[in-house]
Every structure is written in structure tokens, then in C-alpha cells.
Symmetry: C2
């Protein structure tokens, strides 16, 4: 296996972008990443794109070919383009498939991208579309949507470990504070614990400020063999680990719904592959589709003991400057959550941090970062570890 | 790169299978292929599944995790499971991704599967869902569905090359004759040229018997490194080539719509990789979503000169016993076309033929076979070459 480096990155503005379509934003992200890497179209061997549901959101499947087409890589060059999907972990999977393609020696320059255009249908329909990430025959058909599923996780976490609504709110407060410094974030306003607790209840105990929004957005990274990365950039960022794990689709089939076993397993596999431990990680982007999800994630990945994530957050340990900065981008909560793009955006944030380009969000001396991307309520988890040093 | 072998195969009955759901048929195919390969669950390193649109057809995305779950591979083993999509070429892409995973040395035993459950919604909705494989903003929005797009290809083919409705009909007649001997085929009735010409017109010049049907079905193959294939089976079938190419999504952006440039390019790349020519191929499964598509395919892959596919078919050269038997399974036309499963089913047919297990469909002395899987109207093409000999 060859070492792999990220040599270019780009994320579009996340938000309700009604004046552009999916093909516009994915082209902006792809071309931006290529420019960042100073790579030409002729050099591209393959495109892998993560997208959860173009079919449901905009009646457009076959998005790999669409991207190759709109990037001008289809007509003469016939560049192979593949869509991968694992619900909200689609972006993370695209990164993983791209890394595999380069690591194996089958391809040299690969574009790994993610995109979702979610605001072109009503929010009710968006919730229905997203519910397709859960078990349709056992959960969706009963009316379960994701706020409801994560609310059950939150309720049990509170019951077992004494986690409080204030602690959940702290996740949102911290992520909005980070997002305020991120130019591409959907929400750049700071909020208080009181703001969260006073916001309308979506699914008890989750208020609307405990939930990530519906978002349009795209992101792309350019992958290359580590041996030639310096041809393109002075600051390649190296892939130290990629891992993926599955779990049951329905919550009711799990022994303990406060633990996402796929996250635990993907984390373990990644640390083993990188020969690292949680102590070695300088910052992490985790999948905070709901505030409770961030608390579970930092526990499941081993940054804090199970049950102590709420207290750990409340004490400020996950803020920039804390023991382990979590979601410096603003996370899914404040930066936004265009589901297929999120896993790639997480990698872009880590690359910008490790390059020292994160501006007011910069984690001092960041050398090793991690991304954690979850599909549905945890039936898929994808973890990557990235490093300044090869 | 390591050599890769197919060590187990299974296709479910194709048809309108209203008594089973997607999870039932994909589990039947996966478990059947594992039994055929005598592989246990613990040995599986990864699952790759092709599926075009679980979201639109059955409101279920995240189908990789669903399969791992229902196969009992998620809860304890956490086997990574990934869905890939390129419209009707999703199955071919799953096979290709699986081959890459094994060839690279990253995985040993990989399940490559495909599935589509299409009959749980009305046929009008199925046509709308399928139209998402075309360019939504330039074709779908104008009302174009696939019969219309392929009808335009057929019209121009007739105009430029003198291809006749009778020659198109011959494709359907031959594929129904083959399907009659295939126990898993959706249609096992023989038809005549007159039957085709008398059937209702869907989009001039395509009658309903020129069109592949709406189908439920699943298929799976088990991949392993060639070096250990004989541990599992006495008749491993070896992968000699895998290739993929893109083209513009919309027909109007192409120089000549009677040529699918992605098929031409994928064919060339596959022959180059295998160091073979069309003359070396003993049988081929091509993507006959419409009768005209089979004629274009045998031309684009180089089995006959451009424009001569209709005459070549009329003369019986593509029948079993002819110069190059095409679609011995019955093809998409008679065997059925569960879009995400088709690319895998094509490989299963070639494996059964090369093993000598194809019964009354058997091509005598078949040693090398090819599959050709197309997404949409040709924006994606995926080609594989399989062989009895390593």
C-alpha cells in the first residue's frame, strides 16, 4: 500500500443557496480544489462523490457522471466517476474509496467530493428523505424521523449518566462560537445556553438548537500518492488511517443505544492502523447531527469515558484551547449539514487546521487531526486520521 | 495488483415479486453466493452493493448497512458495507469496486452485489424514478423518459444506417428465446418478430416489446484473490479486465448519439487491460435496456462495424451457436432489468457459462466472456472480461 496525501481542498459556502443548483456547487468545489492543488483536468484518474439522495431531493441520480460532465471531464477524457452512499456518511465513504484507489496504485490523482442540495423541497419532505437513512420497515413506517431517534438516545444517556439539557446545549453554544469564525458556515451567530433551552422543542429533550440544519453545500479534496505530493503543494497533509464499520440499521436491535458500536469499532480500527491513541489527536471533527451525537462521539472514540461527555463538554474541554478541540468548523450544527458533503467538509477543516490556515479558528500547533462521519443513527461510521507529518 | 477470481454466484428469480421486500431478495442472493463459494460470514472483509434508487422506489437509502445488518454481519462483525450508484450501471460498478478492493490487497473476500425493488410503486412513478438517470435539468424537466431518449437514438440509427424495425425486433425475439431457457428470467415465453411489431408503440420506433421491463431482483458474486480461489471452488473464474468510462449526461451534448462513446472507451480500455480483441470473446452480456441499445453495444464494443449491428443480428450471428452469442441470459429484455442488480447478473451469467453450468443456454466451449453495463443513456459504461483460465 502506498502512502496517500491530500494536496488540494475546497468547500463552498454552506446554507440555503436557492440561486444555485447541485451541479453548480459541486463544480465550484471540485474546480476550487483542483486550483488549490494546481492539478489539471488531464491528470485526473477518477472522481468519487458522496451523495445521500439526489433522487429524493432533486430527482437526479447518476451524479458521478453529472459531475464528470459539468467539470468537462466526460466528453473527451471519459474520466470514471462513481457515487457512493451511506446516508450522512456518504462523504466520508467517498474519501475512503478515493484513498483506497490511490493507496492501491490503481489511480494516482483522485477527486473525492461530496454534495447535497437539500433546500429545493419543503422541510417536511427533507425530513422524509432523511428518514430513508433509518430502517424504513421498522422505524420510518412507524413515523420515526431522526430527531425522534436521537431524542431516544439522549433520553437514555440522561437516565443512565445524568447528562443534562444544559450540557447538550453547551455543544451547540461551542459549535456556534466556532462557526462564527468560519466564513463558509451556515450560522455565524453566537448563541447562549438559554437560547438553546428557550428554543422550540423538536423531540424531547432536543430543542431546535440541538439539531443540525437542512443545508446546501459541496466540498472536495484532491488525493495523490505521498511520493509526488510535493510536486503540487508545499503543505501536503498525509492520510494516516481510514476505517469503516457497520452496525444494525434499527436502534431497537442494539444492546445499548447510548453507544454507537460502529463508531467504537471504526475508531479502534483507525487508531490501530495509525499506531496512535486518542491522546495523540490534536483536534477532531465529529458527527454532531444532534448535540447528543457529539457527546456520544467523543465517548465512543475514546476521548472521554462513556457517560462523561456532557460534563467534559460543560467544563470547556472541547472548545478551541481546551484538551481536545471538537468541531472547530462549527460542526454540523453551525457550519451546516449538507449530508453527502459533510464527511468531505470535515476533512477540509482538518487540512486547513494542519496547514495553519484556519484563521481565528486555528488550533495552535495542530499536527494530527481526526474526522468521524456517521450514517443514520450509527449503522455506518467512517473515521480518518490526517497528519502534517508523513 | 493481485489477480482476482469469482468463487461464488447467485441470482434470485427476476420478476414482479410482490411477496418479498428488498431486504429479502438481497439476503437471498448474498447468502446463496456465499453458500456457492463455501465462505463463512467471518471471512468477509467488505460488502459493496449496487443500487440505483432505493430512495425513490422504496424510501430506503443506506442499503449497504441494511444488507450487512440483515446478513448478520453488522452487529458483532461490523463488516464495512458500501453502496455505489451510477444509475443502471450500479451493479457493474459494484463489481468493479469489489475487484479493486481485492486486487489492491486491501481486502481478501468481498461480496459484490446488486439489488433493485421496483414494483412496489406504480409504473408511472417507476418511469419518473428511472428518468433521474438522465439529465434532470435538460432532459427530465422537458418530459423525456428513457424510451423517448432511446427512441431518438433508434431513429437516427435507422436514418444513418438503414436499420429496420424488423431488425430491432430480432433482438427481442432472440433474447426471449434465450430467456425461455433461463430459470430466473422474468419472461420465459418465445415471441416472434410479428409479436413485437404488433405490440403497442411506446416511443416511435420502439414498441413495448423493444423495451426491458420493470423488475425486482438481486444478484451477488463472491470475490477472492486468485491465489487462494481453489481453496473454495474447483471452478474459479478469473477477472481479466475491469474498466469504466463517462460521457455527457444529456444526449444533446454528444457528437453522434448513435455511438455511446463511454461504451467505446470502456471497451477499448478493457481489451487493452486483458490484452485481447473482440475476436477472443466467446460470449457477451450487453446492456439491452432497449433493442436499439443492444445493436449500438455490439457495434461500440467492436464485434461488428458501426451501422451493421441490425443486419448482423438479423442474420443470426448473435444467437447461441452464432458468431458471438449475445445475452444468453435473455438480457435485460427477457431476463428482466432490476437496474442495480443487472451488472452483477450479467457477471453471474458469464460465470455459469464459463463453468459449463448454463444448461440449455450453454455456449459450447466458452472460455472467455464479457459484460457491458450502461448507466442512463450512456453517461457511464462499465465493462468486464472474465476467463476460465487465469
Amino acid at each position: 500500500m502506498r502512502d496517500v496525501a491530500i494536496i488540494g481542498v475546497k468547500t463552498t459556502k454552506f446554507g440555503e443557496n436557492w440561486d444555485v443548483s447541485l451541479r453548480d456547487i459541486i463544480t465550484e468545489a471540485g474546480v476550487g480544489a483542483l486550483e488549490d492543488a494546481r492539478v489539471t483536468g488531464e491528470e485526473i484518474d477518477a472522481i468519487i462523490v458522496g451523495n445521500m439522495s439526489g433522487g429524493q431531493f432533486i430527482e437526479q441520480e447518476h451524479i458521478g457522471a453529472l459531475i464528470a460532465d459539468y467539470a468537462g471531464l466526460a466528453k473527451e477524457l471519459h474520466v470514471p466517476a462513481t457515487r457512493v452512499e451511506a446516508a450522512c456518511a456518504s462523504g466520508g465513504l467517498a474519501l475512503r474509496q478515493g484513498i483506497h484507489a490511490v493507496a492501491s496504485g490503481l489511480e494516482d490523482i483522485v477527486v473525492a467530493a461530496g454534495v447535497e442540495k437539500m433546500t429545493d423541497i419543503s422541510s417536511t419532505s427533507a425530513s422524509t428523505a432523511l428518514a430513508a437513512a433509518a430502517d424504513r420497515e421498522w422505524e420510518g413506517i412507524m413515523g420515526a424521523t431522526f430527531p425522534g431517534l436521537y431524542a431516544m438516545i439522549a433520553k437514555l444517556h440522561m437516565h443512565k449518566y445524568g447528562t443534562t439539557s444544559e450540557q447538550l446545549a453547551q455543544v451547540a453554544v461551542k459549535n456556534h462560537a466556532n462557526g462564527a469564525h468560519n466564513p463558509i458556515a451556515q450560522y455565524r451567530n453566537k448563541i447562549s445556553v438559554e437560547d438553546v433551552l428557550r428554543s422550540i422543542m423538536v423531540a424531547d429533550p432536543l430543542h431546535i438548537f440541538d439539531c443540525s440544519p437542512i443545508t446546501d453545500g459541496a466540498a472536495a479534496v484532491i488525493l495523490a500518492p505521498a511520493d509526488i505530493a510535493h510536486k503540487y503543494t508545499d503543505t501536503p497533509i498525509y492520510v494516516k488511517a481510514t476505517s469503516q464499520a457497520s452496525d444494525t440499521l434499527a436502534l431497537h436491535d442494539r444492546k445499548d443505544i447510548t453507544t454507537l458500536a460502529a463508531s467504537v469499532e471504526a475508531g479502534k480500527r483507525a487508531f490501530k492502523m495509525a499506531k496512535l491513541t486518542p491522546k495523540d489527536i490534536d483536534l477532531v471533527e465529529v458527527h454532531d447531527c444532534f448535540t447528543i451525537a457529539e457527546i456520544c462521539a467523543i465517548e465512543d472514540l475514546g476521548f472521554v469515558k462513556k457517560g462523561e461527555g456532557g460534563k467534559f463538554t460543560e467544563e470547556g474541554n472541547t472548545a478551541i484551547g481546551g484538551k481536545i478541540p471538537v468541531n472547530t468548523s462549527g460542526g454540523l450544527k453551525a457550519c451546516g449539514h449538507p449530508v453527502g458533503a459533510t464527511g468531505i467538509k470535515q476533512a477540509v477543516e482538518i487540512v486547513e487546521q494542519l496547514r495553519g490556515d484556519a484563521g481565528k479558528r486555528q488550533v495552535d500547533g495542530a499536527e494530527i487531526g481526526m474526522t468521524h462521519n456517521v450514517g443514520g443513527s450509527g449503522a455506518t461510521a467512517v473515521v480518518h486520521i490526517l497528519s502534517r507529518d508523513r
